[in-house]
Symmetry: C2
Subunit: 277 residues, 2 copies
Amino acid sequence: MQQLSNNRIFDGQQLVYQHNSDCCKSSMRFSIYLPDLSRQAPCPALFWLSGLTCTEQNFTVKAGAQRVASELGLIVIAPDTSPRGDIADDPDAYDLGKGAGFYVDATQPPWADNYQMHTYIAAELPALIQQHFSVDAERLGVFGHSMGGHGALTMHLRYPEVFKSVSAFAPIVAPARVPWGRKVLTAYLGKDEQQWYQYDACRLVRQNQTEAEILIDQGSADEFLMEQLQPELFTAACQAAGQPVQLRMQQGYDHSYYFITSFIEDHLRHHARNLNN
Amino acid sequence: MQQLSNNRIFDGQQLVYQHNSDCCKSSMRFSIYLPDLSRQAPCPALFWLSGLTCTEQNFTVKAGAQRVASELGLIVIAPDTSPRGDIADDPDAYDLGKGAGFYVDATQPPWADNYQMHTYIAAELPALIQQHFSVDAERLGVFGHSMGGHGALTMHLRYPEVFKSVSAFAPIVAPARVPWGRKVLTAYLGKDEQQWYQYDACRLVRQNQTEAEILIDQGSADEFLMEQLQPELFTAACQAAGQPVQLRMQQGYDHSYYFITSFIEDHLRHHARNLNN
């Protein structure tokens, strides 16, 4: 594992690492914020899953999470959104291939060789983080934006014993029903829609309810709200299944990091509360 | 004046505009954060001057100023660091030409036609802002980073009746003495060093003391500290001249926006206090 950068910020260190992923068979990057509090005792850790086109940099530079993470003693890890390097890609599409791993394990050629982001986030990366940093493995949370909001919801619903707290900004909640999801799930998993449902939060919550309240923020001026996001599909599914959820519509906010940074403090405090920090 | 973007953030609007500058004879961009409080009454405004290679985007996206600006009711304007377009440039140098206007009025060819950033910041941009936005013209401040810290100090020392409060992150305080400054001042102003002193904070403070305390933050791990910055030259000049100044050495912080965002709240509160907000 190679350290690419190390900057002091808000009484902590913002680091970026590169390593070879076993499951993705490629070089992968992630950023990690270590508050100084983590030098004294293991700290809870949150995994941030980014949206389409992002790398590990977007959240790290734009979200402004470090200030409150420092105060609360939270470690925050932001992985890249896909494997990189000399691998399969669709260079003309921003929503397939590199930058668009969609947090699934691809089964179809040419993607299956490297696009194993589900296993990477659910298993390989948490193990790597626990091996190298002062993390309290009993107190992990997951959150994310758009495609990464989809990733966070599905990770929590499938592995609530691993990711005990969850929140999302403008998540894709029903990938099996919306254009972004149907395109990439067809490419990565094939045409059998039954295979898609293990990665569809609206479907998963029918079987897998958890005790943690799910916090979702959604901007009312989000250009993707009506076609790609439709968070009311998820709150309806949660209500039908008895899953605690809170959807906050934020008036006038869009899909950008300007929206995320405006409410990141609430999300960090939500996770700290749920992880009994 | 053309609006290029408009995003909601922290109970306000983050906007980017483009306009034709009279003094620079080129198209120029700036960002402006308008807290909702400015809809009710004119608000104080701060001009942020960025460092080498920056555009109007860096501060806007990375500094995290909007949260506290919203709370305090401060308008924050971040202009580009040079004119742009089909003008003179040194494409091989990051520290001369585009992205490196140095907040001076160039007198030498080929720069003099467009590189008039001193007049742009001191006069043209404040007038434009006052014409279009709900700004209290009696309560303006200026701050900046590195090359922009130099710009902020010189603007305040020369026009304390315009820019009544001032602060800086890792400023170039003695451009007439350090390599960055000597290179660009020679190019923009010629070899007569007497011409440089009107843009050298250490020289200016000998004549022009002000009543406002100057706040400076400097990271101890800044790679440019010893050769290019040397803030102790300025504090010594201030002490000799009777100029109030506070230099805070921040242990372990470097020259990046990770440093700036860690202390931006202190600077915003410093300006609000000094502008009797």
